[in-house]
């Protein structure tokens, strides 16, 4: 018997993609490779390698936002833009005590967040 309450319950990850024809990396997923025009079928990802985007990264810039959207019951949230070692970049939340510094090394992980109505969403946390 399948227990749907635990089905799919695992550490959340955010996917990046590699075009198997030319090797170009993408985050988020593209529909067409800008280098070789390969098409990605979003239902099968055939011809594309999907991999977890996580781990060491460098902080490019950051902000501390005080006027958060509806549903965020926090005083503020920090956000940042990072570059991974493979050259991909991403935006997400920054969690640390004190002010981050541009150029500092961080580690990217993924959490599930449910501040907004609807299904929980995957969110990068850089810490």
């Amino acid at each position: 018997m399948v227990d749907f309450s635990v089905y799919g319950e695992q550490t959340p990850h955010i996917s990046a993609f590699r075009c198997e024809k030319c090797g170009t990396l993408y985050y988020p997923a593209p529909m067409v490779c800008r280098k070789c025009d390969s098409i990605r079928d979003p239902t099968t990802n055939k011809g594309w390698e999907e991999f977890d985007l996580e781990g060491p990264c460098t902080l490019l810039t950051w902000t501390r936002v005080w006027n958060l959207p509806e549903g965020f019951n926090r005083k503020f949230l920090m956000f940042g833009m990072v570059e991974f070692e493979n050259g991909l970049r991403a935006s997400g939340r920054v969690e640390m005590v004190g002010d981050p510094q541009i150029g500092m090394k961080l580690t990217a992980t993924t959490i599930e967040a449910d501040e907004r109505p609807g299904k929980p969403v995957k969110v990068f946390v850089f810490s």
């Binding site: 988020p28 936002v65 006027n67 940042g80 935006s91 967040a113 501040e115 969110v123």
Partner: protein, 399 residues
């Protein structure tokens, strides 16, 4: 060869809080004003095509299909009408489509109206609705909003070029000075550099929104509308309008990556530069020919970076020009004479039309006393969709 296309009617409501009114009435008010400006309400029967610009009435007001509603409210059936949605660049996109409709030969007279009623929801909800134009998975879901992006952008600019928070405040002081003289502006209150940057209470008066951006570095949440009447200047219909046309010399748009992080340099706004280059080419002029400009300063950093991308200043130097008051009303190149989005306000669907309305007023010499640019020849407007991913540049000329 495309016909000469000009603006013969311009209408605007006072920007501010219109949340007690139907967004369709708010838009129709400016349409009425535009026809009166052009010579009379009966001229609405001469219109061949209507474009209504609106970003998110479905979310703000639970109203959709606004073009049909405006047509009916104005007794303009069976005139063809379409809604134009291009985020906060919806307004200028609608003007561009109006231009294209006339240039194609399908129309001689086009009405373009833009409007938004955003204060029908809370400020927090409004911020969230506007954020829906960000990439759903990679940006919106993270909790990022437009102030958040602008904060990150500003910090990087500061790190690279030496911009200070006081420089941002200087832009705000200039914009509020201009808005204080503008009949149509939302915030008609001047502010001093002492109150928002230098004084002992500045941290309280001008609190952080998205560090290093403060309240006076961001636009207010504003309702309002604006409308323009475009005409084929070479058509017999042009003679029906009493006002001398202000010619659309150049209008062009360009796009950039949806995700900000996917740009080669997060500080470079290619779509602004490309749209401006195309508009300059179309007009046969360059940055030095522009007499004044309305630049999309939803956050004051945009006024600075856009003024660099369109070629007014070298990269990383625009704030030095602000320090020298070069962009003041009486400066070498007045920027945001209306008060800009910062102080005039930013009803997202109306903004692009409103910017061009300001160009028309200035080029006609109809701006209020103390706000009129001296003998302007060319005015430029840059209307910014998303975080710089869909940008329209318009250049108007007084012939």
């Amino acid at each position: 060869m495309a016909p000469r296309i000009g603006i013969v009617g311009a209408g605007h409501c006072r920007f501010g809080n219109s949340s007690d009114y139907d967004v369709v009435d708010v838009i129709a008010y400016s349409v009425n004003a535009a026809f009166r400006d052009a010579g009379g309400l009966n001229l609405r029967k001469e219109v061949d095509q209507v474009f209504v610009a609106n970003m998110a009435a479905g979310l703000f007001n639970r109203e959709t299909a606004l073009a049909s509603a405006v047509i009916s409210r104005m007794d303009m059936e069976p005139c063809p009408a379409e809604l134009v949605e291009n985020g906060p660049a919806s307004g200028a996109s609608a003007v561009k489509l109006g231009y294209m409709a006339i240039a194609s030969g399908m129309a001689d007279v086009v009405l373009v109206a833009g409007g938004e009623v955003m204060r029908s929801v809370t400020g927090w909800e409004s911020t969230d609705i506007v954020a829906t134009m960000a990439h759903k998975e990679a940006e919106y879901n993270m909790g990022l909003t437009l102030p958040g992006f602008a904060g990150m952008f500003t910090r990087l600019y500061m790190e690279r070029y030496g911009l200070t928070e006081r420089d941002l405040a200087l832009v705000a002081v200039k914009d509020h000075d201009n808005a204080a003289k503008n009949t149509y502006a939302h915030v008609q209150i001047p502010v001093t550099i002492d109150a928002i940057a230098d004084g002992p209470n500045a941290d309280v008066v001008n609190n952080y929104v998205a560090e290093p951006l403060r309240m006076y570095s961001t636009c207010p949440v504003t309702d309002g509308s604006a409308a323009l009447i475009l005409v084929n200047m070479d058509s017999p219909k042009a003679k029906l309008f009493k006002k001398k046309p202000i010619r659309i010399a150049g209008i062009a748009s360009a796009t950039d990556t949806h995700c900000v992080h996917n740009r080669k340099d997060p500080l470079v706004l290619d779509a602004v530069r490309l749209s401006a280059e195309k508009a300059y080419t179309m007009a046969g002029i360059g940055p030095k020919d522009i007499s004044f400009a309305e630049l999309h300063d939803a956050f004051v950093i945009f006024e600075l970076i856009v003024s660099e991308e369109v070629g007014f200043f070298e990269r990383g130097t625009s704030f030095l020009a602000v320090r020298k008051h070069e962009t003041d009303l009486n400066g070498r190149l007045p920027i945001n004479t209306s008060g800009g989005l910062k102080a005039k306000g930013h009803p997202v669907g109306a903004t692009g039309v409103s910017q061009i309305f300001e160009l028309v007023r200035q080029l006609r010499g109809e701006a209020e006393e103390g706000r009129q640019v001296k003998d302007p020849r060319y005015g430029m407007a840059v209307n910014f969709g998303g975080f710089g991913n869909n940008v329209v540049t318009t250049i108007l000329a007084r012939d």
